[in-house]
């Protein structure tokens, strides 16, 4: 049994709860994964029940009142993650809090505290990863706990695992990728004939872009994911400050039209080889990276076995929640290995 503290009950957190409600029996039988969520924290406070919260009720309470802390029996308004890490016996902290790329807080502090207290961590928050991945990995190793974040890149797409497979017996020398669904949707719609502003508005209406889309548009989200790949796949100890970033804010329909006429187009591509760079890049339309709408694509150029590309829908609550589940299964397996 894994006792889990779930930080953040937004789209991803709720999707995780939904999947657990639907599939808990399957997961227990199939994977031996018996999950007990003993605490959920959102911006209003917490809900705590050490024998395992009823997730259907939690989802209802959140929908009705805006915070799980309003639950009649288990609501604990005003409590935060740090309080609960002290108070409860937790096996894994699942961090699904919103991304903050300026200083990674409060997620960074939560993760550090958890690792220091020998609690395993699964996060999908790119903030602390983009700013402090080498430090957090060092700390996890030092404390001998497991630190997983596969949902942070590519959502449900198993990008990091795929990269590990590519690198087995070979060496990855370059990573290129379309890593942000929002900007790719905007560019694709511009190919269809829309102006930038109209495409952005449509992306927002359809729920691809946040209310404040600047992290996506300015290329910061792509840069954050690139940093994670650089660290995990190539072992480069980089942070987001090491990335040269240019977003799509200056990309005009005129340029795209002009590219299309010569059989090419633009994509916002993050690239790591000797350095890290994010910029709108002109590529052939048949290039595997020229995926359309909210798709993601990452290509790994290897020394000997050529180029491998993985495609799929990146973002999305369900997809990302699945990645969390994948990490939890991995943790469970590792814990069993240690015990034997």
């Amino acid at each position: 049994m894994l006792r889990i503290l779930l930080a953040g009950f937004g789209v991803v957190g709720r999707s995780l709860a939904e999947i657990l409600v639907e599939r808990s029996e399957e997961l227990r039988r199939g994977e031996g994964l018996n999950i007990r969520i003993i605490g959920i924290i959102d911006s209003g406070g917490a809900a705590v029940y050490e024998r395992g919260l009823n997730l259907e009720e939690m989802i209802k309470t959140k929908k009705k009142s805006g915070s799980v802390s309003h639950h009649d029996d288990y609501g604990r308004p005003g409590l935060n993650v740090l309080d609960l890490l002290d108070e409860l016996e937790v096996d894994v902290l699942v961090d699904a809090t919103p991304t903050n790329l300026s200083n990674g807080e409060p997620s960074y502090t939560y993760i550090r505290k958890a690792l220091a207290s020998r609690i395993h961590v699964v996060t999908v928050n790119k903030g602390p990863l983009a700013l402090a991945l080498p430090a957090l990995k060092e700390l996890a190793k030092h404390k001998d706990v497991i630190f997983r974040f596969s949902g942070s890149v590519g959502g449900g797409l198993p990008v990091i695992e795929f990269a590990r497979q590519c690198a087995r017996g070979d060496e990855i020398i370059k990573i290129e990728g379309v890593l942000n669904g929002t900007t790719n949707y905007i560019i694709s719609r511009m190919e269809d004939g829309l102006e930038f502003e109209a495409a952005l508005q449509e992306a927002q209406e359809r729920g691809y872009a946040e209310k404040d889309p600047s992290l996506d548009i300015r290329g910061l989200d792509t840069a954050a994911k690139l940093v994670i790949l650089a660290n995990e796949v190539l072992g480069i100890k980089a942070t987001i400050n090491d990335v040269h970033i240019k977003g799509i804010e200056e990309l005009r329909k005129k340029e795209i039209d002009e590219a299309i006429r010569s059989g090419e187009t633009y994509r916002l591509i993050g690239r790591v080889d000797s350095g890290l760079e994010v910029k709108p890049t002109r590529i052939k339309r048949e290039d595997p990276l020229a995926v359309r709408y909210s798709m993601n694509a990452v290509s790994f150029t290897t020394m000997n076995s050529g180029v491998h590309v993985i495609l799929g829908r990146g973002a999305g609550g369900r997809e990302t929640a699945t990645a969390i589940l994948r990490d939890l299964i991995e943790i469970k397996k590792k814990l069993v290995e240690v015990k034997v």
């Binding site: 220091a116 700013l131 402090a132 080498p134 430090a135 990995k137 060092e138 700390l139 030092h142 404390k143 100890k237």
Partner: protein, 459 residues
């Protein structure tokens, strides 16, 4: 800039160090690292020892002496009454904390590595506060920080903690970086840090120099300056060779060799972070600040000097293990080294002839008896070894210089010079890096051999 204990030996010297900082603060971003005042760290170690043995009166006297020493330094270093009052009140509180810590050891009669680190940390914490006063008086906008507050995070290996470099880098950049951005000069305690739980640890070997190079590495500084009481690394000990001189530049590898062989006030570990990030390290003298000192870099200027320095390592002993049946028997050397390792004895030099009939090793002299007892028990009577002999009246001479690599005839020149003075060489070792040649002579010949080589190479 890191200031060593002697350079902060009393109030006047602290004032002098502060003036040096002031001089460079105008046109540079400076981070100051302070050691404890001279002898204070030793005194604190002694204090812990006395407290754990219940010596109430000794503890009282020592505490009072420490308090007096620091208050006297404040009076000498700071003139401005208001600043003086501030610093005195801070120091008074610290001494009170120290007293409480020592008293608790006294009551329990038990000192753990953890409590020892806590007590010893007061040396640097006291000196940084006085430095802060002296700099404030010179109108330098500054702030004092303990190693942990500066962001140096280590594991919990008390007494010799290892920094978690990536965590440290991140924290140091956040904390010190923001001070520098606001034009504030940080004054950081050398030698001390905290572990992940925020408990005070000490860095052990390399001490404050290590703090300076760690900070340098984290902040990607241009240079690390280690201020002490010597002009720099020298071609030889000036007590032995009168015309020994300061080396203007050496490489990291040479500096590490020289540090291992006891060049004054430098520990190889302290050079690691600087070497890793290619940061120049300069050794300078607070008592002779106009001297350029020694610059340690990864790319020293081309020099036609084949040999850079000749060092004499005293207080060593040589053990020879002989026996014809060792020939062709794998594992004999392993057994010797393993035996010594189990006793926690460090082997400084090892040499075996190709006939395998004898192995010679050099260790610290104070470990000789222990080493002999162990080796005799482990090896004699196994039929493997015929005899174990030892000599405790020997010295090691180390000849250091990157120029020796690939230069033929170095050995013949070195040994020729020694032979000309009628000195017999007992044992020789040279690694294939050719960075250094070490050999053993009788103690009475040690100084003479150094002089001979120094002269031969015209150092």
């Amino acid at each position: 800039m890191k200031f060593g204990g002697t350079s902060l030996g009393d109030g006047e010297r602290i004032k002098n160090a502060a003036r040096l900082v002031k001089e460079y603060v105008e046109n540079n971003e400076v981070i100051v690292v302070c050691s404890a005042m001279a002898e204070v760290t030793d005194t604190l170690f002694m204090l812990v020892d006395k407290a754990s043995r219940g010596r109430v009166r000794d503890v009282e006297i020592t505490l009072n002496n420490l308090s007096e020493k620091h208050f006297r330094a404040i009076d000498e270093a700071i003139v401005d009454e208001a600043v003086k009052r501030d610093v005195k009140s801070i120091i008074k509180d610290l001494i009170e904390d120290l007293r409480r810590a020592v008293l608790s050891i006294l009551y329990l009669r038990e000192a753990t590595p953890r409590s020892r680190d806590y007590v010893v940390s007061f040396g640097e914490r006291l000196s940084t506060r006085i430095m802060w006063g002296a700099l404030t008086e010179l109108n330098v906008n500054c702030k004092y920080l303990d190693g942990g507050d500066a962001g140096i995070i280590t594991d919990s290996n008390f007494g010799e903690a290892n920094p978690l470099m990536e965590v440290t880098k991140l924290e140091v950049r956040r904390r010190i970086g923001s001070l520098l951005d606001r034009g504030i000069t940080p004054i950081v305690t050398g030698y001390i840090a905290v572990n992940e739980e925020g408990v005070i640890t000490t860095l052990g070997r390399g001490g404050s120099d290590y703090t300076a190079t760690i900070l340098g590495y984290c902040l990607d500084v241009d240079e690390v300056w280690l201020w002490s009481d010597v002009d720099g690394l020298m071609t030889a000990d000036p007590k032995i060779v009168k015309n020994a001189r300061v080396l203007p530049t050496v490489s990291f590898n040479e500096a590490i060799e020289m540090a291992i062989f006891g060049a004054k006030g430098l520990h190889p570990r302290a050079l690691e972070p600087a070497m890793k990030s290619n940061i120049k390290v300069r050794i300078k003298n607070t008592f002779n600040p106009s001297h350029l000192g020694t610059l340690i870099t990864s790319k020293p200027e081309k020099s036609d000097m084949i040999v850079k320095a000749v060092l004499l390592v005293k207080d060593v002993a040589m053990i020879s293990v002989r026996g014809a049946s060792m020939v062709g028997r794998p594992g004999t050397v392993a057994k010797i080294l393993e035996t010594l390792a189990r006793e926690n004895i460090n082997v400084m030099m090892i040499s075996q002839s190709v006939s395998e009939s004898s192995v010679s090793i050099v260790i610290k002299r104070d470990a000789l008896t222990r080493a002999l007892n162990r080796l005799e028990t482990a090896l004699l009577g196994t039929g493997l070894v015929e005899d174990i002999e030892s000599e405790d009246d020997v010295n090691v001479i180390a000849v250091v210089g990157e120029g020796m690599r690939g230069t033929p005839g170095v050995a013949s020149k070195v040994f020729g010079a020694v032979a000309k003075r009628g000195i017999n060489i007992r044992m020789i070792a040279q690694g294939s890096s050719e960075l250094n040649i070490s050999f053993v002579v009788k103690e009475e010949d040690g100084s003479e051999a150094v002089k001979a080589i120094h002269e031969e190479y015209g150092l």
